[in-house]
């Protein structure tokens, strides 16, 4: 039947490899069960990697979520011409896929030491960001770079919910005496919140698992969980495969929780706000 090849494929190339890693996370090199690897996640280097990853992912998720929502609301607004909306949605579609190595180069070329924006800020506005301590290779620079795909992703994720806001609700509010702010606070915000929070969580998980952009931008200069794992797979740093498995397990635990909460929020929204 049609599901045969699919089942085999899923088992061999999705389920087995992942389960294998998780099992390995709780074993040592001989295969004996142990929690030592999980404990190893608390060591300074690894803990620091988690902290950095959380900061960059969290910051890009929050900023991306808020700004993305603002843009989506502006696009869906009554005065916005159709062509502008379609153009920006297409641009969002492209930008959300423009991650990885090329994105790193683009930001190096824009806010790197010799980047266009850096130079303009210095020569035209007299602001030298590098003298002030900024570097595109740091957490702020990386967050700004991540924002390039986080923001459009948020726009695409939240657009259905924004489009689902009925014009009649606003008219009913007006009829009942509410101002625009009152309507936004009492109706729009509560209705959008589950979708907003869910999308923000997806953004967070998305950033947490990203490696190509960071690697192309900073090499191993910045300590992220994904960079650490990358180096470990190449045999460069930890030389402890089981610790690597624990790292992978930790990552999936975090992204897994994000997705579970996202699904619950989506179910709530579908149930209540149909």
């Amino acid at each position: 039947m049609g599901l045969g090849p699919f089942a085999v494929f899923a088992f061999l190339f999705l389920i087995l490899p992942t389960i294998g890693l998780f099992v390995g996370a709780f074993q040592d090199a001989d295969g004996t069960p142990t929690l030592a690897n999980i404990a190893g996640l608390m060591t300074p280097v690894v803990a620091n990697a988690f902290r950095q990853s959380l900061i960059v992912s969290g910051a890009s998720a929050v900023v991306g979520a808020v700004c993305g929502l603002a843009i989506a609301l502006a696009l869906a607004g009554p005065g916005t011409p159709r062509f502008l909306r379609e153009a920006l949605l297409t641009l969002s579609g492209v930008a959300s896929n423009f991650a990885g190595v090329p994105l790193a180069f683009a930001f190096l070329a824009t806010i790197g030491r010799l980047g266009l924006v850096t130079i303009i800020l210095r020569d035209v506005f007299g602001i030298d960001i590098y003298a002030a301590g900024f570097t595109v290779l740091g957490t702020t620079g990386l967050t700004l770079t991540y924002l390039y795909f986080q923001l459009p992703l948020m726009v695409l994720l939240i657009m259905p919910a924004v489009e689902g806001l009925k014009r009649e609700w606003r008219e009913a509010s007006e009829m009942l005496g509410a101002t625009g702010w009152q309507h936004a606070w009492r109706i729009t915000a509560p209705v959008l919140f589950p979708s907003f929070a869910g999308a923000a969580l997806l953004l967070f998980a998305n950033a947490f698992g990203a490696v190509a952009t960071a690697y192309a931008l900073t090499g191993s200069f910045i300590n992220l969980v994904t960079i650490l794992l990358y180096a470990e797979i190449r045999g460069e740093v930890l030389h402890d495969a089981n610790l690597g498995y624990a790292l992978a397990f930790g990552m999936v635990a975090i992204t897994g929780v994000c997705n579970i909460v996202y699904l619950r929020l989506r179910a709530f929204s579908a149930r209540r706000f149909r």
Partner: protein, 361 residues
């Protein structure tokens, strides 16, 4: 001075004119329906009264106050939408209380009023439910309560029953009528369903293509339609092209037969005018030769329950419809047979030859 005065209202969207010269004076406590097919402009008129659309010309005055350019928020109107438009994140109580909360009413007073409203619409147990848990009829009742809770000066209803199942539509219609009569709140009701308009209203405004065709009580509009549109849209009508023989005496001819309207008709001798005749006003007459008799051939006979509908062909290939009920529905003629039709003079109505009849209150 009427409670609601709408004068010369006009709305153009680009080059399309949706509403042409709409005027209406409604008394306090009156229930007025705007009746017409889709696209006739009735919803646009309602939305201009509500303040959701700005008129291209004309004025709206409520209780002496010119509200034409005021924002909806300050007009003190209540509106019920076809799609209910209940706030999904608030419970039934939350929805009903919304306007009161926004106005800054005290919590205890709000609770009292909400309770009052829930019992008015007959849903005292459902206060804690969310809209998604309610049926269509229940949601619309809540929407009504929400609109009335704020004690609006005028209640505007935009096809509120159209989205509901047939049976619910009828029962909710009766409830709506009872509530409106009990509270004495002025109501403007938009619908394309003539039965609703006739059952609910004190007066009906029949509209077509942006124009007012006729304003009158349900009986007026049904028994004395003024234009061909009104005659055929409200109920069924036979429209006969007749020749005026004697205008002052109200004598006309159709296909050689002599017809008496029983009242003078306007127009010159020899002019062709349109006369309307309701299907239920016609009887099958065994006597020949009397005036107001028309020869016809039966095309088919359909049994509809309370009524038997005959389709017939008159002289000059003019089709006609006759509804027989009660004992008149026995001894039915067969398809293909020739019969004589008879009607009383006063049931023959003269229709305006141009479309939009003068809109008299």
């Amino acid at each position: 001075m009427s409670f609601l005065t709408v004068r010369g209202l006009r709305k153009a969207f680009g080059t399309t004119i949706a509403v042409q010269d709409f005027s209406l004076e409604a008394e306090r406590g009156e229930f007025v329906s705007l009746l017409g097919p889709s696209g006739c402009g009735k919803t646009t008129v309602l939305r201009m009264i509500a303040g959701f659309e700005t008129p291209s010309a004309g004025s709206v005055t409520i209780d002496g106050e010119d509200v034409t350019h005021l924002p909806t928020r300050t007009r003190r109107i209540g509106m019920v939408f076809q799609s209910y438009a209940l706030f999904p994140n608030l419970t039934v109580e939350g929805n009903i209380a919304f306007g009161l909360k926004v106005a800054g009413m005290k919590r205890e007073e709000i609770a009292v009023r909400v309770k009052e409203m829930l019992s008015l619409i007959g849903l005292p147990q459902l206060g804690g439910r969310y809209p998604v848990e309610l049926s269509g009829g229940q949601q619309q009742r809540v929407a009504l309560a929400r609109a009335i809770a704020i004690r609006p000066r005028i209640l505007l209803l935009d096809e509120p029953l159209s989205a509901l199942d047939a049976k619910i539509r009828v029962s909710l219609r009766e409830e709506l009528r009872a509530i409106q009569r009990e509270l004495g709140i002025t109501a403007i009701f938009v619908t394309h369903d003539q039965e609703e308009a006739l059952a609910l209203s004190h007066r009906v405004v029949v509209m077509s293509e942006g124009w007012v065709e006729q304003i009158g009580t349900p009986a007026d509009v049904y028994r004395t339609p003024r234009t061909p549109f009104v005659a055929t849209f409200v109920g069924t009508a036979n429209v006969l092209p007749c020749r005026i023989e004697d205008a002052a005496a109200g004598v006309l001819s159709f296909g050689g037969a002599r017809l008496e309207a029983g009242h003078p008709v306007s127009g010159g001798a020899g002019e062709t005018v349109q006369m309307a005749l309701r299907p239920e006003a016609i009887a099958i007459n065994p006597f020949e030769g009397a005036s107001n008799s028309l020869a016809a051939t039966v095309r088919d006979v359909t049994f509809l329950g309370p009524v038997v509908r005959l389709r017939l062909m008159l002289a000059g290939d003019v089709a006609a419809v006759v509804d027989l009920h009660g004992e008149g529905a026995r001894d039915l003629p067969e398809a293909g047979s020739a019969v004589m039709l008879w009607f009383r003079p006063e049931t023959l109505q003269l229709l305006d030859r141009h479309g939009h009849g003068a809109a008299r209150a």
